[in-house]
């Protein structure tokens, strides 16, 4: 059963932006762009496409903002726009671009999971960061767009099933079954890192 709806913490900014305050919309961009970047990038695996798509997403949100009535939170609303636009983009082009790995954030090296995964004394398993990124991106690209979207939101962004279901406009059961299938595929692809 659904609990009481959380109040939308973006509401004051949204209302100001709806009344023509462009600085309020800038604030909304600053607040959400980093996470949305992660969402779009992990679905496209290309930084240039991500930048262009993210610009288009915020432009669309800006144009549609007056019609946003607050039936969902702003966060859910803009995530839905992002996922739909990215899925349309991927389906339209239907391409598998070479993955860009130039600007991987080196903070990854401080992550305890990364250290655990890469520093177990067996020298064969000492993969370097780029190989690992390449493998991960390859595994993600091997998934269908719909499966990649749920894996990105659940495993990368850490979003709960219910939130993903709202964004994709499907049932939580569908989200779970897509995740199950996608995890099985990823598991096969990343077998050598799993041991």
């Amino acid at each position: 059963m659904a609990g009481p709806r959380k109040p939308d913490e973006d509401k004051p900014l949204v209302e100001r932006a709806q009344n023509g305050d462009t600085e309020a919309f800038d604030e909304l961009i600053r607040k959400h762009s980093s996470k949305l970047y992660g969402l779009v990038y992990n679905m496209t695996s290309n930084h240039e496409d991500t930048n262009d798509l993210l610009q288009d997403i915020f432009a669309k949100a800006y144009r549609s903002l007056k019609r946003f009535q607050g039936k969902s939170t702003f966060y859910t609303w803009i995530y839905s726009i992002s996922v739909n636009m990215t899925l349309n983009f991927l389906k339209k082009r239907n391409r598998q671009r070479k993955v860009s790995l130039d600007d991987v954030d080196l903070n990854i090296q401080n992550d305890s999971d990364f250290i655990e995964s890469t520093s177990k004394s067996d020298p064969v398993k000492e993969v370097n960061i780029l190989e690992l990124q390449q493998r991960l991106n390859g595994a993600m690209q091997a998934l269908s767009e719909d499966h990649r979207a749920v894996v990105t939101m659940f495993d990368v962004m850490g979003m709960p099933h219910n939130e993903i279901a709202k964004i994709l406009n499907v049932s939580p059961g569908t989200v779970r079954s897509r995740l199950f299938y996608a995890h099985r595929q990823l598991q096969n692809y990343l077998e050598e890192f799993r041991q």
Partner: protein, 111 residues
């Protein structure tokens, strides 16, 4: 440990694949540049409609004022239409002015 747990941890590492803060500051500037460029490409009537829409939205919640203003505008347009459509009405008005001028000149002469 859950069989998929290690794979999930590896996948979660992708959260680090984001650019730095400087990128997001530039992103907002780029957004403004793109918005301006888009506005320049729009036809004039579309810009006018956008402005009108924004202006009307500003009246949201003050419908009675907006209604009164709209009524007053409609009344003014109606008056302008009625007087503008009847040339007699305009000439009568000018005639009255001419009579007044005439009277004041004759008064000056008498003085």
């Amino acid at each position: 440990m859950d069989e998929f747990e290690k794979v999930r941890k590896l996948i979660a590492l992708k959260r680090y694949e984001t650019p730095g803060e400087a990128y997001f500051e530039r992103f907002v500037e780029e957004f403004h540049d793109r918005q301006r460029a888009e506005m320049l490409r729009l036809p004039v009537h579309r810009l006018f409609l956008d402005r009108l829409d924004t202006w009307l939205n500003g009246w949201r919640g003050k419908q009675w004022i907006a209604g009164s203003l709209a009524g007053a505008c409609a009344a003014l347009i109606a008056v302008a239409f009625v007087t503008g459509g009847n040339p007699e009405a305009g000439s009568e008005f000018q005639g009255e002015l001419a009579v007044e001028e005439f009277d004041s000149t004759s008064l000056l002469r008498e003085f």
